[in-house]
């Protein structure tokens, strides 16, 4: 089983952003609250704005998947495992994302992380996060 992400009308702006190396989040024009990209309306407005996030944040939590990776682009440094993480963006929202470019044993709560983009299955680019000191990622 492998996944290839395809955009639809609602997610098109988000994947247009990831295609160009930008992580987009949502912000309410009325209450100014920042949201995850998948939030479509907050009750104060049904037309949340897209906004470029800085792409940096801290590690809140993580889980290490010991099953067979869906795609090699997802795997940790030793190539064997996928790490699911929660990142608190500088802008506030918490994102659930794959963690790449590191060994699971090196992770610590509060670690500074930055976004990079991967293309599982060769489909749309999706955001992943790596420790901020890791270089060479797009």
């Amino acid at each position: 089983m492998s996944f290839r992400v395809e955009r639809d009308e609602l997610s098109s702006p988000f994947f247009e952003g990831t295609d160009g190396g930008t992580l987009l989040i949502r912000r309410c024009p009325n209450c100014a609250q920042a949201y995850r990209p998948q939030v479509e309306g907050c009750g104060d407005s049904d037309s949340l704005r897209w906004e470029a996030a800085k792409g940096v944040g801290t590690l809140v939590s993580w889980a290490v998947d010991h099953s067979t990776p869906l795609d090699n682009s997802l795997t940790s440094l030793d190539g064997s495992k996928v790490i699911f993480g929660i990142i608190e963006l500088d802008e506030g929202p918490w994102l659930q994302v794959p963690i790449v470019g590191c060994d699971p044993s090196s992770l610590e709560e509060g670690m500074e992380m930055r976004v990079c983009f991967i293309r599982p299955g060769g489909g749309e680019a999706i955001p992943a996060f790596a420790p901020r000191h890791v270089g060479g990622l797009t």
Binding site: M1, S61, A63, V64, S67, L74, I86, P98
Partner: protein
């Protein structure tokens, strides 16, 4: 206690029945096993389909059709939400005798990997293979990081519940034990910090309950069991949005999904006039070991961060102060689709009646039954008691 009469004064649970539970039930589909659950629950109550004028469950309409009990009051709901719906329907006079039944069979045909419905199906979480065990693992890791909760505490929950199932002749994993916490920690890793034995299994089966008016429950074969309180908390639909722990609302910003069920429990304690120290048995939902620790905190049995220490030292053993999930739960008894979400209530009824074949808690008079799900996006609770409120 509220002003005037208790909201569930007029409601009694008079039937509770589990069908055969097995890894797969090859001669059944979900409708036929649900029908078996309904028939068994009615027999347990000493009633027949002719007396049923309401059905609540995910297959309620099909059940009404097949059992020829239409026209009947019908609500589609699952789990403890369905039980509270049935109770509220009786209290409001919408129905008199209500069947709550559910079952799952013929579904486990793809066994190569994790159950397919546990993978979230949206483009923000599907592409990296997110699955239920990992969603709950994120919650557990957060707690371990924040409060220093030890893997041994999680393993102690799993070992305790698995041992309950191992001693239960009706459990799918009967005689699989005994397990120690060390056995759990030695099992292979699934979604670190969860080992294989920290996780629920999958199986098939059905469960049924019968609720009726308390004034009509005096002639039944067995003692009625009463609903002392209940509550329901949701933060999102299951497996749609990532359970990122910070999910809160504008009304009670102090409550996030990490403590989902707290508001429901506060409501339950207020309605019942009781508190955690009045509870004799904790029939908690056990999809993953940590979820039991989280519930003890959310419901106010201990302070936030203390759940790991709270469950150690025998507290949750069958002979302890708060015996937990005494039939073996979803780790060892059965995990049959959404039907497992009413099995904790069936077990609570059996505990109060004193008729459990294994791990009967002596003089169980107040039992807290729960379901939760979706990596801490949902928790429903119902408090059962021997005395009419």
């Amino acid at each position: 206690m509220m002003d005037g009469r208790h909201p569930f004064h007029d409601v009694a649970i008079v039937g509770a029945f589990n069908t055969q539970q097995a890894k797969s039930l090859d001669d059944h589909d979900s409708v036929t096993i649900t029908m078996d659950a309904a028939i068994g629950a009615l027999a347990d109550a000493g009633l027949t389909f002719a007396e049923v004028d309401g059905v609540v469950g995910p297959l309620a309409g099909e059940l009404i059709y097949q059992a020829r009990i239409g026209p009947a009051w019908c609500i589609r709901a699952i789990g403890i939400g369905a039980v509270l719906e049935a109770a509220a329907g009786i209290a409001a006079g919408l129905a008199t005798t209500v069947l709550v039944a559910d079952g799952a069979a013929g579904l486990y045909t793809y066994r190569d990997a994790t159950a397919p419905w546990t993978r979230p199906a949206n483009e923000y979480t599907a592409p990296y293979g997110m699955f239920t065990a990992a969603e709950y693992a994120l919650t557990a890791r957060r707690h371990m990081q924040t409060y220093g909760t030890r893997p041994e505490a999680l393993a102690t929950v799993a070992a305790t519940i698995r041992n309950n199932g191992s001693d239960n002749p009706a459990a799918v994993y009967f005689r699989r034990g005994p397990f120690t916490a060390a056995d759990v920690l030695a099992s292979r890793m699934i979604a670190d910090p969860f080992h294989l034995l920290d996780c629920a299994m999958t199986s098939e089966g059905g469960c049924g309950l019968v609720l009726t008016r308390a004034d009509m429950a005096t002639d039944n074969a067995k003692s009625p069991v009463f609903i002392l309180g209940g509550g329901s908390d949701r933060f999102a639909d299951p497996y749609t949005h990532p359970p990122t722990l910070d999910l809160g609302g504008r009304r009670r910003p102090d409550l996030t999904n990490g403590s989902v069920g707290r508001r429901a429990a506060e409501h339950c304690w207020k309605t019942s006039g009781l508190g955690p120290t009045d509870v004799d048995v904790c029939e908690f939902y056990d999809p993953f070991s940590f979820e039991v620790i989280r519930q003890f905190e959310a419901f106010g049995f201990c302070d936030d961060g203390e759940g790991g220490d709270f469950i150690m030292g025998g507290t949750i053993e069958p002979s302890g102060r708060f015996p937990v999930t005494t039939d073996g739960g979803t780790m060892a008894f059965g995990h049959c689709g959404s039907a497992q979400m009413i099995q904790r209530v069936a077990r609570g009824v059996h505990q109060i009646r004193g008729e459990c074949q294994s791990k009967q808690v002596p003089d169980a008079e107040v039992v807290l039954c729960t379901t939760s799900g979706s990596g801490s996006c949902a928790t429903d609770i119902v408090l059962l008691g021997v005395e009419r409120p």
